[in-house]
């Protein structure tokens, strides 16, 4: 089934305890589509870049089967840029610089050929833009998933609550679940957040795994304990891309299949953190992914 991803394609500059990068390709939609490309055969992208964005990076997305008809290239303008620095524990980071550039006026145009998408992933951008996308899609997709962050809860909570009413799956981290619900207990927070709209909630806990909530059901997928976490940038988006890519490829949105999708998403995220930026999720083989998923089976399974 076809998947449409809307979000940022950007330049990042990163510093971790292991080193630093110059400008490398980044952005939520980049990680999501690259990750989803290993599962979903029809990957459509709506995003915007400036004319400084290298053609070979667009070629890289295309090599991964991503349809870039919806990628707007703004002549005379610059691509969104973010730079950040991770603390020693890799669990927290500071934003060093943000240049919104083309993202400041992002007007998501949905090509006609994308209108039949059955799975829609709204990557982290302003909630008003996410809602605009939903209003511009003529036929409601089978599943709409939205990612957001604490920044929007601080400056655009009303917009966020408005778009939350229109989505099926929400992904946020544990801190954001607590902010959004006003409740420290994640179990109670999940109830509160699901009452805002999304029937399914994924709470990402980074190195501590991810929780999947739907009604009274709850599933937990651990993160793979790795010897080295090199760079966490994009891990959440890679996770989301693996999750929705797996759902789109199997076209099964049952809770049991969402459990599998969480495991595939977690496996993709475990690759992502092994190298800088998106380096490790470019050119993965199906054999590597299958072997990694088996590590999750070994990690989590027991017989009672």
């Amino acid at each position: 089934m076809s998947l449409l991803t809307v979000g940022s394609v950007a330049f990042d500059a990163l510093e971790t305890p292991f080193g630093k990068t110059d400008k490398i390709i980044g952005g939520a939609a980049t990680y999501i589509t690259l990750s989803a490309s290993y599962f979903s055969t029809k990957n459509n992208l709506v995003a915007v870049v400036g004319d400084d964005f290298p053609q070979e990076m667009i070629g890289l997305l295309q090599e991964h089967g991503v349809d870039t008809e919806g990628l707007q290239i703004k002549q005379g303008e610059k691509t969104f840029f973010w730079s950040g620095k991770y603390h020693n524990d890799m669990n927290s980071r500071d934003t060093v610089e943000v240049q919104l550039n083309v993202m400041a006026k992002f007007n998501p145009v949905i090509p006609d050929s994308y209108q039949d998408c059955q799975y829609l992933m709204l990557g982290n951008t302003a909630p008003a833009i996410q809602q605009m996308v939903l209003e511009r899609i003529t036929k409601r997709p089978k599943l709409v998933m939205l990612d957001t962050m604490n920044f929007w809860m601080d400056i655009a909570m009303d917009d966020l609550k408005s778009v939350l009413k229109m989505v099926d799956v929400l992904t946020i981290n544990d801190e954001e679940a607590r902010i959004l619900s006003g409740d420290y207990s994640l179990r109670r927070a999940a109830k509160t957040v699901m009452a805002m709209g999304p029937k399914t909630l994924i709470i990402k806990k980074g190195e501590h795994g991810a929780l999947l909530f739907q009604g009274d059901q709850v599933f937990f997928c651990p993160a793979l304990p790795l010897e080295d976490v090199f760079d966490p940038t994009g891990a959440g988006d890679t996770f989301a891309g693996g999750f929705i890519g797996y759902l789109a490829s199997t076209d099964d949105i049952s809770f049991e299949n969402m459990k599998r999708a969480i495991v595939y998403g977690s496996a993709m995220a475990s690759f992502c953190v092994e190298k800088f930026g998106s380096e490790r999720i470019v050119g993965l083989t199906q054999e590597e992914i299958t072997a990694r998923v088996q590590e999750f089976v070994q990690l989590a399974h027991f017989q009672i």
Copy 2:
């Protein structure tokens, strides 16, 4: 198979965001033996209390099948007392007061009838006392498990390293694993700690679950996401008691059975935090435990 637990039996006074207690029964060995009593049929206890320790509390242990021949009652002396206050997130606490009392001169005497124990649990006390117990047991048990804490790493690291060479299973939390190994990555920390002696290492992560390491194998058991965590006191000891009690009852120390034991230990810990002190792990039914373990199956299992 018979289980011997050596450790503290104490009074605690607790304050959490939900309320506070007067002196209630506490101590590592109390939680361990109560928890293990639901699995192991022969539970022996070596500990020391003062003459202020209520007879009905000893009766409570006996009602749970705990043999108290090894519980020394020191006339004219007072029981070990600890009081602590939890922060709002329940993940950290301050020690308000410690009165070592009888624990200051704890001389663990092993009754002859305990010498045949096949499973030995060394609850958190001074490493020198833990080693003394091992030297006083004439026949090496089939499995020796040790719990310790950062306090001993600060003031008695050499003693701790000495006793670690003599044990099979070590339980510590994630912070302690990082201190003991000097490594932030838990995967690498586990290798370093296992090279110190214990072939099996359990790293407890509180609300984030527990990791079991043995050689190159790793297993993860989540904590049950609860609506309310009322009081975390004793959860780690209750976990350890469930773990070793299950191993003793099945007399199977394979890695596969240790996985099951971790799940049973986690189930017992999930009860413990639901009420103050040991209140919730007194008088549990097998039906409650079986149902709780099934919640862990639901939480963790997926089919690939």
